[in-house]
Subunit: 434 residues, 2 copies
């Protein structure tokens, strides 16, 4: 049944593809991808086999320089926008058409791995190489992008959609520099970020190839993830008030122990998140008890509550149910619970439905298995979705490990992703995206 549907999709979307070789024959080169990933991983390499290449660091500057070199090698004309985003352009045959853009980032978290972001950038360059090797001239201009400081808060893509203000520029990044100073250090101009903005209509489509950073594809043995969207995130600090008292002199039945209520609350969070159907997640990752001494009954517990889902309404529904359960606990144990929402909320960013179908059809045509799935992590694609039809291609992360030197994606999986990216670009260029 899936194959039947896909055949129809392919029939619809891939008919107008042009080029010297049938795109289904064109495959990315696993060895070349792996060799370049390896070369990139030298910049900021740490003793654990991963990288410390936080945005704006020396290692980041060196890695960016390496990427600009690769871009030039494959014939791209390279520029940098005022946000420090590196943009490598290949002109199309019809100069008035909007650009098809694809790429990712090369900055890492502290103690990061060699695949997060990197696969999308190296894979995008591979697409250009395949076009060159097969003498394919696209109608649309193409742009390979390396976004600035993804791990520090999607800085480059937010600048591209006009969302960086002075507050963000003054935030101190992992490098120790403020984001503003960091942008200056990589060659951008934080005072003229308006020049980095792209308008709706300028970009025909944006596509990001990325490792999954979760274990779903790996565990379920799928080659490709077709991303349905990037989940929205809301985060609260939840304060549970008890009464601090001497752990020796206060009998069990005279306690208002905030830790006991917190324990019931944590289990309620888990129960609510697992009892609803769907892919929502809710997490208590941090807990602080006051005064936090072994011999004092906790008088207060502050814990973090984070909820993610593809649907804003679903996030609210999960929170409402948790709050109801919390009220029951607070009433039963005489330990009031209050909420402070932390302003990091990012709304869900669904990908473009046509883009999903094009990516799925591309995978299927290549004989690759695929799964529609949400992205639980944030990506530059969520910003780009505001100004262009956006799609994301996931490849498996072994055991779902990410943000760790142990992060690993095989050369073949990287090549599969790059092949799907190539085919998707060709399909969009050929008119598959209305």
């Amino acid at each position: 049944m899936r194959e039947f549907c896909t055949a129809i999709l392919l029939g619809i979307f891939l008919l107008p593809v042009t080029g010297a070789t049938q795109p289904s024959d064109i495959r990315a080169n696993p060895d070349r991808l792996e060799q370049r990933i390896k070369a990139l991983s030298a910049f900021g390499a740490n003793a654990d086999g991963g990288v410390d290449r936080v945005a704006f660091s020396e290692a980041d500057l060196a890695g960016r320089s390496y990427i600009r070199g690769l871009m030039r090698e494959v014939g791209l004309s390279v520029r940098m926008d005022t946000a420090g985003n590196i943009i490598g352009r290949r002109e199309g045959s019809e100069p008035d058409l909007p650009v098809i853009m694809f790429g990712s980032h090369i900055d890492s978290v502290p103690g990061g791995g060699n695949y997060d972001g990197d696969v999308g950038v190296i894979g995008a360059i591979e697409v250009i190489q395949l076009l060159n090797d097969n003498a394919v001239r696209t109608r649309h201009p193409l742009e390979v992008v390396v976004f600035t400081d993804e791990e520090g808060g999607l800085t480059g893509s937010r600048a591209m959609v006009g969302e960086i203000g002075d507050t963000t520029l003054s935030v101190v990044s992992h490098s120790g520099m403020t984001i503003g100073d960091g942008i200056r250090a990589v060659g951008g101009d934080p005072n003229r970020l308006d020049l980095a903005e792209r308008r709706p209509g300028e970009i025909k489509a944006f596509i990001e190839l990325h490792i999954e950073q979760g274990a779903i594809l790996h565990d379920e043995k799928f080659d490709i993830g077709v991303v349905e969207g990037i989940v929205g995130i809301r985060w609260w600090d939840v304060t549970i008030e008890g009464f601090a008292n001497h752990a020796g002199t206060t009998p069990m039945n005279r306690r208002w122990d905030a830790m006991i209520s917190a324990a019931e609350y944590i289990l309620a969070v888990n129960r609510v998140a697992t009892s609803m159907s769907g892919g929502q997640v809710a997490t208590v990752g941090r807990l602080h008890a006051e005064p936090g001494a072994p011999n004092v009954i906790p008088g207060e517990v502050v814990l973090s509550l984070e909820i993610r889902d593809l649907s804003t309404a679903k996030i609210q529904r999960v929170f409402d149910e948790i709050r109801r359960e919390g009220e029951r606990i607070a009433d039963a144990r005489f330990t009031p619970i209050r909420y402070a929402e932390i302003d990091v909320a990012s709304p869900p960013a669904p990908t473009d439905e046509q883009m999903r179908r094009i990516i799925a059809a591309s995978a299927d045509d290549l004989g690759l298995s695929f799964k529609f799935m949400p992205s639980g992590a944030g990506h530059d694609a969520q910003d780009m979705a505001q100004i262009a039809p956006t799609g994301m291609i996931f490849v498996p992360s072994v055991n779902g490990v990410s943000h760790s030197p142990k992060e690993f994606t095989s050369a073949q999986d990287m090549a599969n992703g790059a092949s799907v990216l190539y085919r998707t670009v060709i399909a969009i260029d050929a008119g598959a995206l209305e």
Copy 2:
């Protein structure tokens, strides 16, 4: 029934009492006690109405000087032992008899209150005053003691029973000084602590008057607590191992969340402690999650488990049952649990049974209501119990508040305690203790 039994007790123990006035007529003076507590509270007074008079601080030195003055005022001959314990002695009529010792401490926790320890010292001086005022000469010599650094680990009483080693002397106390340097600062000699030791037989009895530091007497409206013993304490660091992972990309059913297991564990601790009969308490006062970020599933939780009871066997039974419950949680959630016992264990220190009866009879004779109860907090009396028959007299703490500027005990309650102490000393002197 209680009055009947007490009458018998009184008949047995109080017959040999001598003195110009019947001791039942002699009562401590609430106003004098309150005035002296107030005077003492000036040393280290903080803005919240409590005191910062940690051992070895300037405030402690000043407070000690004030107490030495009071001791001299009531005719005691004052000395200091090599551990810095202040000892005020009143000779008895039979020089060969062992000493009856009573007292407490005047050092506070940081941000402490005006009654913890202080009531026992001021109350002991009141007893001497009552003896003077009523021209009572005891057969036994009497010693009023102010122990050094109670709040830092029962330093003075441990020295008196020969338990301070070099490791303890090098511990940095709240004052910033090591305990060794602190002892030197108050005038002791940490190199000759052997001279501070007292041998079994030297002390006929030790009695400590203290505020309850819990709410049992206050809530149940008893005047006097007859302490059955000081509970033993054991403390473990409990480590629960999960698997740290991305809170966005890891579905609920693929998590090994150490926080969820910790929550179940905390509830199991509470369930075990409350489901057994008896006065045992078990507390989780501290919890640390790694990495402790709102967007990461906790890969490890370390929490404190503290268990107290009057019986060593009961503590072990509570722990064994908690450990069994923990194994069930660990197995069900695939989150191993391991224990590291922290070496602060203090074994239960029961008070002397005859002493309890003498204190109870004294209270009853004064028309005061009393309750037999454990002490959940540690006291110098637990050390003294190793070398002498020991008793403790509790007076109510309003709302059980302690180690806080809000600590409060009424003048009348202090006077009740001092009256019971007086009567107990007289009874022991008269031969009530075999």
